[in-house]
């Protein structure tokens, strides 16, 4: 590939993206964290790697959509032992199901900068409908989407066999997300 065709190829790839990839994720300023209670003690973790394909326009909610892909093996619990444990079959089975995905195209305005998104969350090969509230902060060419949603780990078979015991590890896990999105020029043109 010579110097001229490289940018053209890049442009072609860009153009081939779904017509409405209006925002690009800035991973350095984004995070997906979770809090699980172990023996009633909150314990926090996060996923280091995830990507998002976002087209969110508060003025055109019907045309908006989001897909977030999470790399399960990038789990960070601040302890190598616990990370190895959670990658095992009875927990996330990251070898069999390396990715989790949230995909949605149903948004509701809840007044002000509050919104709600409903879509499918797939973890460990199990899909569930979830609804998550979130807030949007516009800041020049950037948008920060943040919120939190309580999930039931057992609905996704996360923690099987002896680990299905909710006395030691609670069923409810609160996922907190903050996505920093940069508006792409195509969105501005529209």
């Amino acid at each position: 590939m010579n110097k001229l065709t490289a940018p053209l190829a890049a442009l072609a790839i860009f153009a081939s993206l779904p017509a409405h990839a209006a925002q690009q994720l800035d991973p350095a300023k984004s995070e997906i964290r979770f809090v699980a209670k172990q023996m009633n003690v909150p314990s926090e973790g996060r996923f280091r790697k995830f990507s998002a394909n976002v087209n969110f326009d508060p003025a055109r909610l019907a045309q908006s959509s989001v897909t977030v892909d999470i790399d399960i093996a990038s789990i960070d619990l601040g302890s190598a032992d616990n990370e190895a444990e959670l990658k095992k079959k009875s927990w996330f089975n990251s070898a069999g199901f390396p990715g989790a995905r949230f995909s949605a195209s149903s948004f509701k305005a809840k007044g002000g900068n509050q919104y709600e998104v409903s879509g499918k969350l797939s973890i460990k090969g199990i899909s569930r409908d979830i609804t998550a509230p979130f807030t949007v902060q516009q800041n020049g060419g950037q948008m920060t989407v943040s919120g939190s949603v309580p999930l039931k780990r057992l609905a996704f078979n996360v923690g099987e066999g002896e680990w299905a015991d909710t006395e030691t590890v609670a069923d409810e896990v609160v996922v907190k997300f903050r996505l920093n999105l940069v508006n792409t020029p195509t969105a501005v043109k529209k």
């Binding site: 172990q38 023996m39 003690v41 314990s43 601040g78 616990n82 002896e162 680990w163 015991d165 030691t168």
Partner: protein, 182 residues
């Protein structure tokens, strides 16, 4: 009259034996936990171990207070000076370990980022921030202190038995009221 002052008071005796059980239980759980693979039982036992240890810490403080107020029976005049000295310093070391071992465990829990929630209800403050290296170091310290405690306990129990069966004095009965005073 004279006999009464030769014994520890009831509160001291109750605290001694309650703590003896808790300390042995805590040590046993600690040894088991070390070799246990991660399981719900391990997580439960870890919590019991922590709650037990924190209770030992409060009780040790209470016990020091009671001892400060009520004092302790005098050692038999027949005891050689070196034995008296060993008894005094042995007990001081026991008290110190009863404070330092739970404290090092509490610190370790904070450093591991898994704070102690007393009986699953009362969250204890984190004494240090989450730090994996510090947690490993504190783990080593916690284990070393426990090894030291086992040695001092062996001396403590050995000396008590020696006094009771060989010296045939009242050292053990002043802490064990069910036994006849000699």
């Amino acid at each position: 009259m004279g006999k009464l002052t030769q014994r520890y008071n009831r509160l001291q005796i109750a605290l001694h034996w309650l703590m003896a059980l808790m300390i042995i239980g805590g040590l046993a759980m600690g040894l088991l936990l070390d070799d246990m693979p991660l399981s719900p039982l391990k997580l439960k036992m870890l919590s019991w171990h922590k709650w037990n240890g924190i209770t030992v810490l409060w009780l040790a403080l209470l016990r020091l207070g009671v001892r400060h107020i009520s004092g302790a029976p005098e050692l038999p005049a027949s005891m050689p000076d070196w034995q008296k000295l060993a008894a005094v310093w042995g007990h001081r070391l026991l008290y110190l370990l009863m404070l330092l071992i739970p404290l090092s465990g509490w610190l370790m829990s904070s450093a591991k980022g898994f704070p102690v929630k007393y009986f699953g209800v009362l969250p204890l403050p984190d004494l240090v921030g989450k730090n994996a290296e510090l947690a490993d170091l504190l783990h080593e310290v916690h284990e070393m202190l426990c090894t030291l405690l086992l040695l001092v306990l062996a001396g403590h129990v050995g000396a008590a038995l020696k006094h009771h069966y060989f010296k045939r004095d009242d050292i053990l009965t002043r802490m064990l009221p069910f036994l006849k005073q000699r």
